[in-house]
Structure formats: C-alpha cells, structure tokens
C-alpha cells in the first residue's frame, strides 16, 4: 500500500502549516494514495520521522516523499536524503521514493495571475496573521508570543 509524506521545512509561527494541511486534505480527497501525511524537518509538528512512522503503522509498504519546496536547495538535496536514509534504516521492509520539488510549472503562472486578479485592499492585509492566531499553540518560540496579536499572552495581559 502506497503512502505519501509531504515534506516541509516547518516554522515557528503558529498556523504556518495551514496551506500544507490543505494540500494534504485535497490529495487525500483525490485518492492520490490511501495514506497522506505531513512531516517537517524543523519546528513544526509532526517531525518527518513521526509522519513516516504513522504511514508504516497504517500498513504502508511504499512511501513517496514529496518535497513541498519551491527550489531543490540544501534542504532537499542534503537534509532530505539524510532523513530518508535514517527512516530507511529503521524500516528496511518499506520502499522509499523521493519526488521532485515544485520547481518550474506553468500552473504556478496560473496561480500568480489568479492571486493578483483577486488581490485584496489594505484592510485585509492582516488576514494571514489572524488565521495564524486561530491556531495558537501557546509556544514561546512563536514570533507572535507576548505580542498584542498573540491570543494567549495577549488575552492574559488584558485579563
């Protein structure tokens, strides 16, 4: 049984994984593979190794790792092969394959044009920040922690 792990860098900002979670949900709905998980190199949960573990527990015998990176730079060329070698050693009975990074695609031009034509006026420029605070994990590492934007520490101070 095939599984997919979307591999991403991770972020300190709470809510930074929203876009990737949405892609994972769509890939599941499209039936691209019976199992689709998200795994991060740094900061965000779950870490890559835990995502692989979840796939194996659900019965995957082949795991396609798809890098959610625009450019195949250091993270894709160096860190990802190391991470894959480590899980391959832990699960020798599972086959691992790594997909290409996003790179060039004419669909990116479609996305750019659609975004520009639908662009918002200044009163909506902080929507991304608000969406992130909806997913507050109350972590001191988050750049919003202890700022007025943080729902946790901000509310505490107001109370």
């Amino acid at each position: 049984m095939d599984a997919v792990v979307l591999f991403s860098h991770g972020s300190l900002l709470c809510g930074a994984g929203l876009a990737l979670e949405a892609h994972a949900a769509r890939l599941r709905a499209r039936g691209v593979a019976p199992i689709v998980e998200v795994g991060y190199l740094n900061y965000s949960e779950p870490p890559f190794t835990e995502a692989v573990e979840r796939c194996v527990r659900q019965g995957a015998d082949r795991i396609i790792v798809a890098p959610y990176f625009l450019v195949p730079g250091k993270f894709v060329r160096t860190d990802l092969p190391q991470a894959v070698a480590a899980v391959q050693a832990a699960y020798p009975e599972v086959a691992f394959a790594v997909a290409e990074a996003i790179g060039f695609d004419a669909l990116l031009a479609d996305a750019l044009i659609a975004s520009a034509l639908d662009a918002a006026a200044p009163e909506r420029w902080h929507d991304d920040l608000r969406r992130s605070t909806d997913h507050c994990r109350n972590r001191p590492e988050c750049p919003l922690y202890d700022t007025p934007e943080c729902p946790h520490t901000g509310t505490q101070r107001a109370a």
Binding site: D2, V4, L6, S8, H9, S11, L12, L13, G15, A16, G17, L18, A19, L20, A22, H23, R26, L27, R30, V32, A33, I64, A66, Y68, F69, L70, V71, G73, A97, V98, E100, I102, G103, F104, D105, A106, L107, L108, A109, D110, A111, L112, I113, A114, S115, A116, L117, D118, A119, A120, A121, P122, R124, W125, H126, D128, L129, R131, S132, P143
Partner: protein, 125 residues
C-alpha cells in the same frame, strides 16, 4: 486617467543566484500571457531589486494600481507581517497609487495539482 496595473512578484531571495531561475521562468510565462502591462520582481533578502525598489519601479513605469503577490509557500512571519509592512510603506511613498495584496502562492489549489503531478511521476517511475 486610465488604469494601469502592475504585478509585483514578492520573492524571498537567495544567496545562490540559481535558486531564482525557476521563478524567473514562471514570471516569463506570466509576461507572455499579457494580463499585466507592468511586471516587476522584488526580493525580501539577498537579491536586487529590493521590494521597496521594485514598488518604486512599478510607479516609475506609470502604474496606477499595484497588485502584489507573495511567491511563498507558507504563512511564516514574512508573509503574515513583513510583506504587508513593506506595502504599507509603499502606500505612504505613493499615496496616489492603489495597492492590493494577493494570497501567497501556497494557498492556491494549483499547488495541490503540482504536488499530485510530482507524486504520480514518482509512483510511475
């Protein structure tokens, strides 16, 4: 005065110049589609022009409306805070120009399409 749109592509930038090659190829495709009379790429870090310089270039070319799109996959602090702040500064320098900000690329379902294609290529290899 008739409206003249500028597309401002806001890119992270990289110390490795080759890291921007694929982004420039995408921008070439956008240019060929002929939707926007002005298209300028601006970088947050490392590369030139900077985003403030790119904003000023759009205005110097006669833009009356500036449509900014973050060429980013995630909402980190760059997308959520840094890029809106640079646009606010641009509005202050150019009060007669209308500024609009689009979704970052990662929010587009087209990215799901690309991931699906990369996964299927790998499955069939």
């Amino acid at each position: 005065m008739s409206r003249k749109d500028a597309l401002l592509v806001m890119v992270h930038g990289s110390p490795r110049p080759t890291a921007n090659e694929e982004m420039f190829r995408v921008v070439e495709v956008v240019k060929r589609r002929g939707v926007f009379p002005i298209i300028v790429v601006g970088f947050l870090e490392c590369n030139a022009p900077s985003i403030p310089e790119a904003i000023d270039q759009c205005v110097a070319q006669g833009a009356t409306r500036l449509l900014a799109v973050p060429y980013f996959l995630h909402t980190g602090t760059h997308v959520a805070a840094d890029l809106p702040a640079l646009l606010e500064q641009g509005r202050e320098r150019h009060p007669d120009v209308e500024f609009r900000l689009g979704d970052y690329l990662g929010r587009s379902e087209r990215l799901t399409d690309i991931l699906e294609a990369r996964i299927r290529d790998c499955q069939n290899r």
